[in-house]
C-alpha cells in the first residue's frame, strides 16, 4: 500500500507511559527514532523492535509497532529467528551495554558475522542502569561502583573494535546529544542490507552522569569528536585544523595542518572491503589527546543470511520439487504388506 498521509511522531508513540528517569538520555534516542521512522514513512505493522532486559530494553514498549521485551542478552538470538523466518519484516534490536556486551555478546557477534538482516542498536551508558549501578563491560578501568568499591579491574571492550573483529558489515557510532546525527546513522543502518551495528553513547544521569560529557558536551564536540564522512579527509578541531594520518607502524596519528599541511590526511572510505583502517580508527580516543570518531566506520555488502536461505530454498525446490509428503514418505525403500 502506498503511503497516503504523512506519518508523524505520534503515530509511532505507544499508549504506554515512558518510565525512564527524568533526564535520561534514552528519551532523546526514543524521540530520534520515532521522528525518523515517521519521516521515512515505514509501515508500523511491518516493523518489529526486539529487546533484552535493562533500561534501554524498555524501548519496544514505547514504539507503536510490533515488539518484544525478551530476556537479558538474548534479543539478537530471538531477532535472528524472526528475521530468518520473516524476511519481509524490518527487525530492530535494542539493548544496553550490559545486555549486548556482557551476557549477550556472543549472540551479538554471531548475528554480525552471519549478517542477519537486523539493525542492532546498543545504548552504551557504561553502567548497569536497571540493576542500579554496577560496572559494565564498557566501564573504564578503576571505576568505583556498588560492585567494585575498590575499582573495576576489567579492561573495557571497545564495541566498535569488537564488532569489526567479528566481521560486521555495518558498524557505526553516534550519541544521544545530537539528534540529526543519530537519525543520519540510524537511517543508514536501516538502509544497509544485513546486520548493522550502531553504538549510541547515552547518558545515565542517575548512575553514571556525565560519562560522555567531555566528548559530547556542546563545548567539547569540536575538539573531541571526529565526524567521519565518506570520501572526505578525516579532520577535526576548530576550522578542521587537525587531521588523521597513517604511520608506517600502522598506527594513526594526529596531523596539525598548520604545521604539516593536509597532504598526509587520510580519506575516509566506508565501503573499503578490508576492515583494517576502520579498526585503526576505532582505536582513536583511547587517550585524552585523541578525538573520538563518530559516524560510519564500515558499510560493506555481503549476502545477508536471509537472502542465502531464500536462495537455498529455491534451489532445493528446483532440484527436488515442492515439498510433498507422499514423496517424502517414499524417499527411501518401502514395501507393501
Amino acid at each position: 500500500m502506498a503511503m497516503i498521509e504523512k506519518l508523524t511522531r505520534k503515530d509511532f508513540m505507544s499508549d504506554q507511559e515512558v518510565r525512564w528517569c527524568p533526564g535520561c538520555g534514552d528519551y532523546s534516542i526514543l524521540a530520534a527514532m520515532q521522528l525518523l521512522l515517521a519521516d521515512l514513512g515505514v509501515e508500523r505493522h511491518n516493523t518489529v523492535f526486539i529487546s533484552g532486559i535493562g533500561c534501554a530494553a524498555r524501548f519496544p514498549y514505547y514504539m507503536n509497532t510490533y515488539g518484544m521485551h525478551s530476556i537479558h542478552g538474548r534479543a539478537p538470538a530471538i531477532a535472528t529467528g524472526l528475521a530468518i523466518a520473516r524476511p519481509d519484516l524490518d527487525v530492530w534490536v535494542i539493548g544496553g551495554d550490559g545486555d549486548m556486551l556482557s551476557i549477550g555478546a556472543n549472540h551479538l557477534l554471531h548475528a554480525l558475522r552471519r549478517n542477519i538482516n537486523l539493525v542492532i542498536v546498543m545504548f552504551n551508558n557504561q553502567i548497569y542502569g536497571l540493576t542500579k549501578g554496577q560496572y559494565s563491560p564498557t566501564s573504564e578501568l578503576g571505576k568505583i561502583t556498588k560492585s567494585s568499591p575498590f575499582g573495576s579491574a576489567d579492561q573495557p571492550f571497545n564495541p566498535i573494535s569488537l564488532a569489526l573483529g567479528a566481521e560486521a558489515t555495518f558498524v557505526a557510532r553516534t550519541h544521544d546529544m545530537d539528534r540529526s546525527h543519530m537519525q543520519y546513522v540510524l537511517n543508514r543502518a536501516h538502509q544497509h542490507k544485513g546486520a548493522s551495528f550502531v553504538e549510541i553513547y547515552q547518558n545515565c544521569n542517575v548512575f553514571n552522569d556525565g560519562a560522555f560529557e567531555s566528548l559530547t558536551g556542546k563545548e567539547n564536540r569540536q575538539d573531541k569528536l571526529l565526524m567521519l564522512r565518506d570520501k572526505e579527509p578525516i579532520r577535526f578541531g576548530q576550522d578542521a585544523r587537525y587531521g588523521i594520518g597513517l604511520d608506517q607502524d600502522g598506527c594513526l596519528r594526529i596531523i596539525d595542518t598548520d604545521l604539516e599541511g593536509t597532504e598526509k590526511i587520510l580519506t575516509h572510505n566506508e565501503y573499503q572491503a578490508d576492515p583494517s583502517l576502520a579498526f585503526a580508527l576505532s582505536r582513536l580516543g583511547a587517550s585524552e589527546t585523541e578525538p573520538r570518531p563518530m559516524g560510519i566506520f564500515r558499510d560493506i555488502e555481503r549476502e545477508d543470511y536471509g537472502a542465502a536461505m531464500t536462495a537455498q530454498h529455491e534451489a532445493a525446490q528446483k532440484k527436488n520439487g515442492h515439498g510433498d509428503l507422499n514423496k517424502l514418505f517414499r524417499s527411501q525403500a518401502t514395501w507393501q504388506v
Partner: protein
C-alpha cells in the same frame, strides 16, 4: 561338498542377531542392510544400534566396539530382543564386549583371522577363547572372514587394505544365506551407495556373494533357517529410526498446519540427526538454523514462532538445561514452541550415546517461577512421527511451549513405519487474529493480545505484518486482557493460575488413556516413553503363562489424560518401570496420592523384556520388588 538343497531349512518365528566389530568394521552398515532386507521381505523388525564412546578409540580395543542388534519376526514385535541368538564378532574385543549377552546355545560367528595375539591382548584375553573351550556353551563357527574376503577380491586389483574393508559384506552374505534373507536388495544397495567408486561396488559385491556361497557350500552349517513374513496391518511400509520419524512428523505437522517450520538447533548427540534430516528437506516450507549454542537455538525458534512459524528446537542432555530461561519467557509470552529432548544418560555429560528417561522432572519443573508446559512422550521409533504432530497440535492450539520427549534408544532404533495418507493426517491449522478484538469505552477498537478464548484459555495471536494489530509482549508480568505490564498482586495470582489452567485444559482435547486389560487384572503396568516395547512384550509373555496383567502407556505426561485417576484407582497394584530413579512414579504419587511399585533401571540401556517379566511374575506371586 553338498548342495544347498540337501541342507535342512528350519522355520523360526523370530530371530535376534547382533553384529559386533571395531568402529571401523562397518557393523552399522551390515546391521542396517540386514534389517532393510528383512523389512522388505515383510518381517516385523526392531533395531538397536549401540555406538561406542564418542571418539574413535584405537582399533581392536574394547572402547572401540560398535554393535548393531536387530530382531526380525513373523509376528508383531516390540523390542530388538533381550539376548541375541546369533552374534557375529569381528574381533576379540567385539567378542569380549558382547558374549555375555548371547543366549546359551546361541550361534557365534567369529572372524578367526582377527584372533591373533595382538588383538587378543588388546581385548584382554590370556588365551584364544575360540580355541580354549571357554565358548563351549555356544555354537561356535570360526570363519576366516578377512582372508576369504581378500581371496574373493583378489582379481579386481584392489589393495588388500581396501579389499579388507568389504569384510562386513562377507559376514552379511553369510548371515543372509543362513537365515534365508532376500539378497537382491542388498546388491542394489551396494550399487547405489558406492556408485562413485566402482571398485568398492565390485569388492563389496564379490565379498557379499562369497559370504553367501560360503554358507551354502561349506559343511560348517548343517541347516539354514527361515523367518516368514509377519502379518503387519496391510499398507506400505518403510523402515524408520525415531529421529527420522520425528523429523518427518514435524514436516507433516507443518504441512497440515499450513505454517512454515523453523528449526533452531545446536548439534548434540543423540539429537543431531533431526537437524541433519530436516536440513535435507529445504524444498518444504522449512528452514534449519544451526545456532551458536542452545540458548540461541531456542531463542531463534521463539523469534520464529513470534513471526508465525512453528518454532522448534531439538537437543539432549546439557542442552536441555540451557533452554530453561527462554522456555520460561515463552510461557509468559504464551507462544507456540516445540522443545524436543532426546534424553540421554546424565548427569552432566554423563553417557552421551546412551538412553535414559531421566529428564522428566526437569522438563516438568526445571524453570524458575511457576512455568508449566505441556509434555508429550514418544513410545516407539515410529510413534515419534505421531507424537511430533500431537506436540505441534497442542502448541498451536494452546499457544504454549510443548516438550516432546524421545530418548537415545528411540532415536537410533528403527521399526517399520506404515506410511499414512497425508490427507488423513489431522488438520491442525489455527486462526490468527486479523482485526481488533476489543472495543474500549470510548468506542475505539483495539487489539488485546491477552484476551483469552474462554474454552481453551488460549490468547489470540497476531503476527507481525498484520496491519492495525501492532502490540508489544514481554516477560514481565502482564495484565490479563490488555497484556500491559502489571505489578498488581491479584493480577499476578490470576495469571499464574490462568497459565496453569490453560495447560490443564489441554486434557479436554486428548483421548482418554486406553487400558489393555483383557482379563480383568489387579495389577497395572503403567509405562511412558521408550519402555513401551519391553513392557508390551513382557505383558504378552506373562499372559501366555495364563496370568492377568493390565497395561497402559502414557503419551501425555502433562496434563495427564482425564481418566488416569480413575484407572489408577481401579488397580490394587500399579507397577511403573522407568529408566530413571522413579520420576513418573513421583509425579503419580503426588498427583493421585496413590502408591506405586517402582522398577528402575539406570544403566543407559533399555529394559530387557525378561527384566520386566520377572518383576511382573514376582508381583503376581505376591512378592516385593
Amino acid at each position: 561338498m553338498t548342495v544347498a538343497s540337501d541342507k535342512r531349512r528350519i522355520n523360526l518365528d523370530a530371530l535376534v542377531i547382533r553384529f559386533a566389530g571395531d568402529s571401523g568394521d562397518g557393523m552399522q552398515v551390515a546391521g542396517d542392510r540386514f534389517t532393510a532386507g528383512s523389512a522388505i521381505f515383510g518381517n516385523d523388525i526392531a533395531t538397536f544400534p549401540n555406538y561406542p564412546a564418542e571418539i574413535r578409540a584405537p582399533a581392536g580395543t574394547l572402547a572401540g566396539v560398535s554393535a548393531f542388534q536387530v530382531q526380525i519376526a513373523d509376528h508383531d514385535i516390540y523390542t530388538p530382543g533381550d539376548s541375541p541368538m546369533v552374534l557375529v564378532a569381528m574381533n576379540p574385543a567385539a567378542l569380549k564386549a558382547n558374549i555375555a549377552d548371547l543366549a546359551v546355545g546361541g550361534v557365534l560367528i567369529c572372524n578367526s583371522d582377527a584372533f591373533d595375539k595382538r588383538n587378543l591382548e588388546k581385548a584382554g584375553y590370556q588365551s584364544n577363547p575360540t580355541e580354549d573351550g571357554s565358548l563351549d556353551n555356544y555354537k561356535l563357527y570360526s570363519v576366516p572372514i578377512t582372508s576369504l574376503t581378500l581371496e574373493a577380491c583378489k582379481d579386481i586389483g584392489a589393495k588388500p587394505r581396501d579389499a579388507e574393508r568389504s569384510k562386513n559384506f562377507f559376514a552379511l552374505g553369510l548371515i543372509t544365506w543362513l537365515y534365508d534373507r532376500p539378497y537382491q536388495s542388498t546388491l542394489d544397495f551396494i550399487k547405489l551407495r558406492y556408485a562413485k567408486n566402482p571398485q568398492v561396488v565390485e569388492a563389496n559385491t564379490l565379498a557379499f556373494n562369497a559370504g553367501r556361497h560360503f554358507g551354502e557350500t561349506t559343511e560348517a552349517f548343517e541347516s539354514s533357517f527361515e523367518i516368514l513374513p509377519s502379518q503387519l496391518t496391510p499398507g506400505e511400509y518403510t523402515n524408520l529410526t525415531g529421529n527420522m520419524a520425528l523429523s518427518w512428523g514435524l514436516i507433516a505437522a507443518s504441512t497440515k498446519a499450513s505454517l512454515p517450520l523453523f528449526l533452531g538447533s545446536y548439534p548434540i548427540t543423540p539429537a543431531s540427526d533431526i537437524l541433519h534430516e530436516l536440513s535435507k528437506h529445504r524444498n518444504f516450507n522449512l528452514v534449519t538454523f544451526q545456532a551458536e549454542d542452545e540458548i540461541a537455538a531456542v531463542g531463534s525458534a521463539l523469534g520464529a514462532s513470534f513471526g508465525g512459524a512453528i518454532g522448534v528446537t531439538t537437543t539432549s542432555g546439557p542442552g536441555v538445561d540451557l533452554k530453561s530461561e527462554t522456555i520460561g519467557l515463552a510461557v509468559s509470552l504464551e507462544l507456540p514452541l516445540i522443545l524436543v529432548d532426546v534424553q540421554r544418560g546424565g548427569p552432566s555429560t554423563g553417557l552421551p550415546t546412551k538412553a535414559e528417561q531421566s529428564d522428566l522432572l526437569h522438563v516438568l519443573f526445571g524453570r524458575h517461577g511457576e512455568a508449566p508446559v505441556a509434555v508429550v512422550a514418544a513410545a516407539t521409533p515410529a510413534h515419534c512421527f505421531e507424537a511430533a504432530i500431537e506436540a505441534v497440535r497442542i502448541a498451536l492450539m494452546y499457544r504454549t511451549p510443548v516438550y516432546l520427549l524421545s530418548d537415545g534408544y528411540l532415536a537410533n532404533g528403527s521399526e517399520p513405519f506404515c506410511i499414512p495418507d497425508p490427507e488423513e493426517l489431522p488438520d491442525i491449522s489455527i486462526e490468527f487474529a486479523t482485526s481488533p478484538n476489543k472495543i474500549l469505552s470510548d468506542g475505539s477498537e483495539v487489539f488485546w493480545p491477552y484476551l483469552r478464548d474462554q474454552d481453551t484459555l488460549a490468547r489470540p495471536l497476531a503476527r507481525p505484518g498484520t496491519r492495525g494489530l501492532e502490540h508489544r509482549i514481554g516477560g514481565i508480568e502482564k495484565a490479563d486482557g490488555t497484556g500491559n505490564i502489571s505489578y498488581d498482586p491479584a493480577n499476578h495470582e490470576l495469571m499464574v493460575r490462568l497459565r496453569a489452567a490453560k495447560i490443564e485444559r489441554i486434557a479436554d482435547s486428548i483421548p482418554p488413556l486406553q487400558v489393555d486389560d483383557p482379563d480383568g487384572a489387579s495389577i497395572l503396568v503403567l509405562g511412558w516413553g521408550s519402555t513401551h516395547g519391553a513392557i508390551l512384550a513382557a505383558v504378552n509373555e506373562v499372559r501366555k503363562l495364563g496370568k492377568k496383567i493390565a497395561r497402559a502407556h502414557l503419551v501425555h505426561l502433562n496434563p495427564f489424560p482425564k481418566n488416569l485417576s480413575e484407572i489408577l484407582n481401579r488397580y490394587e497394584t500399579v507397577l511403573i518401570p522407568e529408566m530413571n530413579t522413579g520420576q513418573l512414579a513421583m509425579v503419580i504419587r503426588s498427583t493421585f496420592l496413590k502408591d506405586v511399585v517402582q522398577l528402575n533401571k539406570i544403566q543407559g540401556i533399555p529394559f530387557k523384556v525378561s527384566e520386566i517379566k520377572a518383576a511382573l511374575i514376582s508381583l503376581l506371586d505376591g512378592g516385593q520388588l
